[in-house]
Symmetry: C2
């Protein structure tokens, strides 16, 4: 789907917070352009949505909706880390920024980053940080960011059989009790 400008050539794309109904507007499919994101059941989506929402201003996911198509075409998130250092300072961590491949060149990424950075500043963060690939550095520099450090990661191999229940906490290679009980009841 190509995102088109309106006849005036000035289609407005507003950034707003994620709503639970955005699942049916292609939000998950958009995330899939960023990394692995299998189908999520409505129940799991709702659970995760409520977990994040319960943090209020401390974890905000924003989206841009193409009103002509009703599809979500850009998103990003920021969560607020509360520290002791920097005089009990707060830092905004920006994550999972993606613009639909058909909606590039309309400054939507910049709008999303601006929304998230403004949000972090409005609640008192002394800085916002994010990790990105070297090839995206120039984009973030245009958004006012500077390269600072390097990012390291350590992946955790799954220690149990794949479990269809994303919210279970079963461990030690046991089969998820909750999933089993689900199967038993249908």
């Amino acid at each position: 789907m190509q995102v088109s400008h309106s006849s005036s050539g000035e289609q407005k794309f507003e950034v707003r917070r994620l709503e639970i109904s955005d699942k049916s507007k292609g939000f998950v499919e958009l995330l899939r352009q960023l990394t692995v994101c299998d189908s999520i059941s409505d129940k799991d989506f709702e659970n995760r949505f409520r977990e994040i929402s319960s943090l209020g201003d401390d974890h905000v996911i924003c989206v841009v909706e193409d009103e002509s198509s009703g599809k979500i075409i850009a998103t990003g998130s920021v969560f607020i880390e509360k520290k002791f250092l920097r005089n009990c300072g707060k830092v905004g961590h920006i994550e999972d920024v993606v613009v639909d491949s058909n909606a590039r060149g309309m400054q939507l990424g910049k709008k999303v980053i601006g929304f998230l950075a403004d949000h972090a500043r409005s609640i008192g963060c002394y800085k916002v940080i994010l990790d990105c690939s070297l090839e995206n550095r120039a984009f973030y520099e245009k958004c006012g960011f500077k390269q600072k450090e390097i990012q390291m990661n350590k992946k955790h191999p799954p220690t149990r059989p794949a479990c269809s229940n994303n919210f279970c906490r079963c461990r030690d290679n046991k089969v998820c009790v909750e999933r089993m009980s689900r199967n038993l009841v249908g």
Copy 2:
């Protein structure tokens, strides 16, 4: 203060969660070895401690106490980000790792990182990430991490007069109402 081994040469340093009484054991002074961390009042420390503690397993600060001196000699934190992608996955963000300059060479940093990474894995994170300087890369590689991306940051200049109340939300260059009312009452 030089941290010394016991007569057996095998002093045990256990990693445990931060307790509110650790403020009087040099926790803030230790953070100051990492970056700016002015004095924090007992009230502000308690407020921030309770904010972080309210997140339970989703934001854990650990410490190592030198039992012979009663001082905190190492610390680090991890907070858990809940995502939609990676099938509603979770990521542990490690922050603010520091070992007292007099307690280096005793593998305390490795212990702290191990504690935080194990915690993240135990509650289902598919990975842990952290940002560090190039010169610390070799240390984190020994802890099982690999360099992945680059970190960018954007600092927010203060938009209001410095306010002694770390927990106020006053904006728009107004003088903090809460601080004013404090002044009025003493």
